[in-house]
């Protein structure tokens, strides 16, 4: 922790950056922190409650965060995938950013988790994670850590659903999606949902009905999942943020599996790996073209 605080202090004192985006403790657990003076660096923490994907604040649509100036951001290895995604899609220039890589021993599903990290509390995305720091980092802090062994198969819940008949699956998703009230928390917390104007906000024509009735909710949630195919960084923030308790991560996970099977693409923190949506290969499957 001291190492992180000292580094943040140094970056601010030497005016290498105007603000550091990291984590701090609050009344209930841990929340994102924006520190712009060296004295405030003592607020910074990093532990297993640091769940949030901070590169979400780097989206160009965050005009108030952009107004802070040059930023240093605390990133876990998985968070760096979002930075890589934003660079890959020309939303961010690597040189405009300082990345503080933290060695991470896994995080809980919930930033207010009061229990120790273990099979019961570990976030799904940490299942099978090696815990190594990102190669993108300018600085790496913290002692090497080991991610606890998870309680089971990361994709067990997806496998359950894949076994169902299409009718059963439809009934299940109808039940889940009927709870959606279109608060768009899924979109707002997503680092890859950076569009200045979302397709869901367009009215001429009205591509996606804004009413939270079942067809509007299918329209919205399926469109968002498809827009994230091969782009989702698998941080699970949409599912965590959903106040309607919809297991949105299942949609993204399924699409990630399809992208892997069809295009050999797996989400990575290497920004030079081309994304399937932005690249063309002669051996791309094309059997769907008549």
């Amino acid at each position: 922790m001291e190492e992180l605080r000292e580094l943040a202090k140094k970056l601010l004192q030497e005016k290498q950056v105007n603000a550091v985006v990291g984590y701090e403790c609050d009344r209930r657990g841990v929340r994102p922190a924006f520190v712009d003076d060296p004295a405030g660096c003592d607020r910074l923490v990093f532990d297993h409650r640091c769940v949030q994907n901070l590169p979400a604040y780097l989206s160009p649509r965050r005009t108030n965060v952009a107004g802070l100036g040059r930023l240093a951001v605390v990133v876990k290895q998985c968070d760096a995938r979002a930075v890589a995604g934003l660079i890959r899609e020309s939303q961010l220039k690597r040189e405009n950013l300082v990345l503080i890589g933290v060695r991470c021993g896994g995080v809980a599903a919930n930033p207010n988790e009061s229990r120790e990290l273990g099979a019961e509390t570990l976030a799904l995305r940490c299942y099978g994670c090696s815990g190594t720091e990102t190669a993108m980092a300018d600085y790496v802090v913290g002692e090497p850590k080991t991610v606890p062994a998870a309680g089971g198969d990361r994709d067990a819940r997806l496998a359950e659903i894949e076994k169902m008949s299409p009718e059963e699956r439809l009934a299940l998703w109808k039940e889940w999606l009927s709870r959606c009230t279109r608060c768009h928390a899924c979109r707002q917390v997503c680092p890859m949902c950076f569009c200045e104007r979302c397709v869901a906000e367009k009215t001429q024509p009205n591509w996606i009905e804004s009413s939270p009735h079942i067809q509007g909710n299918f329209s919205w949630n399926v469109t968002r999942a498809l827009h994230l195919a091969g782009r989702c960084v698998d941080c699970g923030e949409c599912e965590r943020a959903c106040p309607a308790q919809i297991p949105l991560g299942l949609l993204n996970r399924k699409l990630a599996k399809i992208m892997s099977a069809r295009y050999g693409f797996a989400v990575t923190d290497d920004p030079s790996t081309p994304a399937p949506i932005g690249s063309y290969r002669l051996d791309d499957g094309q059997e769907f073209i008549l």
Partner: protein
């Protein structure tokens, strides 16, 4: 003399109403992919009702103000538009197990719904709905009803308040609608001469009080004088600008009206929940947005609840349910924010 109602008799009451075709809404336990939660939902059987005090994830407002509601349907034929009005009869509804903070919100929002325009849909649902609240037997670190003038035993907005007492409930009849409900269930609610064992929820109330102390008048005064203050920029940095806080808020009532086509030449006009945190809420057709960034939008949320609504209606537009705190993915904490503003207000005391 107090009237008592056993859980068995409560279940019988629910069965009677269900038999008579009344819609019964109550907290129901759900489990989705390992996540357990409670939500207000129509029940078919009284055994589904969970009265253990867990707070439903969404507020009661959805019963009288559905997330989407059709105002009318329309048909268009060669320039001629035909309007088909939406039904104006509302189904009889009984809510059992409303949280006091949810029940109070209904009465607070009545004020704006009957202000410059009488909202037929809101009041149609309101009149058809009887609310039986249950006093809270527990609270968490996000509850702050006592800071906004309510309590875990508040009767506001409820027709009955049930106070848990062992395996039974003490029945407090609050309104004429509540009297009518008692009239048809008198034999189930015998009078008991067991003396009241002190305030049942005082321990809960104390716990809630410890979360936040607030001086609403001072807060309102400070807000009125500090529309521009660096605090707004600082607080709003972490806000993601979604509508989660507003959609789980029992008092947020903003809506959007849309026309949606349902085939060639026909469609429906609907009103849907809307929220002031996304940028789209105030985006003008010209492209200009008077609330230019998240700090302006978050300030609006606080101002509306603790300054604008109080000055217009004499009511705080918040019941301290704490849902906005619990759902926020960014850790925006209204208790901490109100405490910080409150401290500013204290310090500014003499200069105001």
């Amino acid at each position: 003399m107090r009237r008592m109602l056993s859980r068995t008799d409560l279940d019988a009451l629910v069965r009677d109403l269900l038999g008579a075709g009344t819609r019964v809404i109550a907290p129901v336990r759900r489990k989705v992919q390992g996540r357990e939660f409670v939500e207000y939902a129509p029940v078919q059987n009284p055994e589904e009702i969970a009265l253990d005090g867990s707070q439903p994830v969404r507020p009661l407002k959805q019963v009288v103000f559905p997330p989407t509601e059709t105002l009318f349907n329309y048909k268009q034929d060669k320039g001629l538009v035909q309007i088909q009005e939406a039904p104006t009869t509302f189904s009889d509804t009984l809510v059992i197990g409303a949280r006091p903070c949810d029940a109070a919100a209904l009465e607070i929002v009545d004020r704006v719904m009957d202000w410059d325009y009488h909202d037929e849909f809101w009041f149609g649902h309101r009149q058809a709905t009887t609310v039986v609240a249950v006093a809270c037997t527990d609270s968490d670190e996000s509850c702050f009803c006592t800071a906004v003038g309510l309590s875990p035993e508040s009767t506001r907005g409820a027709d009955w308040l049930l106070i848990p007492a062992g395996s039974s409930f003490e029945v407090r009849v609050v309104t004429p609608k509540g009297e009518a409900l008692l009239e048809s269930n008198k034999s189930r609610c015998p009078e008991s001469d067991v003396p009241e064992a002190g305030k049942a929820s005082s321990a809960v109330e104390e716990k809630v009080r410890a979360n936040l102390a607030m001086n609403p008048a001072k807060l309102q005064e400070w807000l009125g004088a500090h529309f521009e203050h660096p605090l707004w920029q600082k607080i709003a940095l972490r806000c993601h600008g979604c509508g989660a806080c507003a959609f789980v808020c029992p008092t947020c009532h903003c809506f959007d009206i849309v026309d949606e086509l349902e085939g060639v030449g026909r469609g429906a006009r609907r009103r849907n929940w809307d929220a002031c945190q996304p940028a789209l809420f105030t985006l003008h057709g010209s492209g200009h947005n008077p609330r230019k960034d998240q700090s302006a939008r978050f300030r609006q949320r606080v101002m509306h609840k603790f300054s604008i609504y109080p000055s217009r209606f004499g009511e705080i537009l918040c019941t301290g349910c704490g849902r906005c705190i619990r759902v926020c993915a960014a850790g925006m904490d209204l208790i901490a924010i109100l405490a910080e503003i409150g401290q500013n207000a204290e310090e500014a005391g003499s200069t105001l």
